[in-house]
């Protein structure tokens, strides 16, 4: 077994190490989020006597609210602090001493978490569809689902670059937890996880379509739900593919510069 596979297997074992935390994280959190969104939108629909909002019925909107935050979770992968905490307390030392690329190791652990949340999304989405009985929602095509999953994993890699840049500020500023929180909020807002992008003014939507967040969050959700044409999905995927090398270059640059600043404190 190569070290890559062993890193993934070790991370999975870490995720599974604590039973109650696992179940709360796996089911509890998303279900709570889902029921809050459902209750909120149901009130809005009933108060205004609406059958549709921006072309979405209540079950469709509820499904969107199930998928969008879970997508964000997949993108965010490992918890905030996955790199900055190591820089802050000297935990990075172990990765620098091991004969492997430290940043590559971090990408793998990050993607393992993303993969785990993808599984969570698949299960919760199936439960959600069953509970909500969203009759108007068209049947998901397998091809769209597979494309959506692949899209999501590439998006997670892109988001890793964003996260890594925020985390690596710790080389200069020690504590950067707030930056991670801000990024999560910005990505959630501009990506359409908090409010579908269809609710934004059209000129803002046009701008957002060229930014990476919409391509990373809304792009795969719309693809899975069948709310985007293949051409639209391809366009948002290409936008993301253009952003990734730019972000990756920034990550490498910050890593190189940051390493010169690293003091390995806490050792």
């Amino acid at each position: 077994m190569s070290w890559h596979k062993r890193v993934i297997s070790t991370e999975i074992r870490k995720i599974l190490a604590y039973r109650s935390d696992f179940w709360v994280n796996f089911l509890g959190q998303a279900l709570v989020q889902l029921f809050i969104a459902r209750a909120l939108w149901q009130t809005i629909f009933e108060t205004n006597n609406l059958t549709q909002m921006q072309g979405m019925t209540l079950p469709e909107l509820t499904l969107y609210y199930l998928l969008a935050p879970l997508t964000l979770k997949i993108l965010i992968g490992e918890q905030i602090g996955f790199l900055s905490r190591d820089i802050y307390d000297g935990g990075l030392n172990r990765y620098l001493v091991w004969p492997l690329p430290a940043l590559g190791y971090k990408v793998l652990t990050y993607m393992t978490y993303s993969g785990f949340y993808l599984l969570q999304m698949a299960i919760l989405y199936s439960i959600g569809r069953f509970i909500l009985n969203p009759a108007p929602v068209e049947t998901i095509e397998i091809i769209r689902l597979v494309a959506g999953v692949a899209y999501l994993m590439v998006a997670a890699l892109g988001y890793f670059c964003f996260m890594a840049m925020c985390e690596m500020v710790a080389f200069w500023a020690d504590n950067t937890w707030t930056l991670g929180v801000m990024l999560r909020f910005i990505a959630g807002f501009l990506g359409g996880a908090f409010l579908p992008l269809a609710f934004f003014p059209e000129h803002i939507q046009t701008i957002l379509n060229y930014l990476p967040f919409a391509a990373m969050v809304s792009g795969p959700v719309k693809l899975i739900l069948g709310r985007a044409t293949p051409a639209e999905s391809l366009q948002s995927f290409i936008v993301m593919l253009i952003w990734i090398p730019i972000l990756a270059t920034c990550v490498r640059l910050m890593w190189r510069k940051g390493n010169l600043k690293y003091t390995g404190v806490g050792m």
């Binding site: 077994m1 190569s2 070290w3 596979k5 062993r6 890193v7 070790t10 074992r13 870490k14 190490a17 604590y18 000297g90 935990g91 030392n93 172990r94 620098l96 001493v97 091991w98 004969p99 492997l100 390493n259 010169l260 690293y262 003091t263 390995g264 806490g266 050792m267």
Partner: protein, 325 residues
Amino acid sequence: MIVVKNLQKTFKVSTKEPGLMGSIKGLVSRKYITKTALNNVSLNIKQGEMVGLIGANGAGKTTLVKILAGIIHPTEGVVSVLGHNPWDRDDNLRRQMALIMGQKAQLWYDLPALDSYMLLKEIYQIPDQLYKQQIEFLADVLQIKDQLKVQVRKLSLGERMKVELMGALLHRPNVVYLDEPTIGLDLMAQKAVRGFLKNYQREFKPIILLTSHYMEDIKELCERVVLIKSGELIYDGALTTIQAQFGEKKKLVMTLEDAPVNIPELRPELGLLEVDKNKITLSTTRNYLSGSMDYLLKNFQPTDLTIQDPPIEEVIESFLRKGGA
């Protein structure tokens, strides 16, 4: 072989005035000071040598270890470890190196040690046969077999250090950096770790660089010591030499049949006299040793007389206080 030439490392450290106002001021402007952690340090370590790195807190020991391990970059100077620049982070070097930090865990806390070892096996590309052999050998010597399947965080401090040591030595490194390997351990565990390191060094002949605040570690393991004070190397040589050269104080301990009734006056330059029942201790210096001895033998009838060297801790402490030779 490790070669260090004219190594220098400076850090820019921010400072803050104490108190609430200091914290508020610190939000707007910070003062920075440049701290020299290492200044013109040069040393060579041959394969198979075990060297003790000694110095007070903040002397620069850990900075030196971190540079040698390739964790941080030096400001100036040349370092070669087994022919490599450590901060090039060449995999060929890192496969031959191990770093054990007493205050920092390398294994995953939430997993049993064996899980982490399986990862280390792949990282260091340890062949199956050698891996099994090492696990058996190390677990046996460190007497830790039963703890390998227990979550690391549930182990005692001593057990944790043992599993850390085991993890770091699985790939049979040629260079081992040990930073406070016995810190916080009880006497039994300290002894076990020391015994293990001694045997390991004898069997596999790696370079071992050991920093420790416990002089017992250094005394038992290292023939050669390197003393660092305020970032400068002030002594590099045999531990026995430092003791012979700088252990100026001697203790004469005389045991009598009964407690002495009359104690004649002692010339102040001959030292300090302490009497405890039938035991007389005279702390003196090497120059006045014969005079002190004369005084004791003339005035008392000993049943036993010993000349003691001061403990190595005291010698080194006084050496460091004086700033070296």
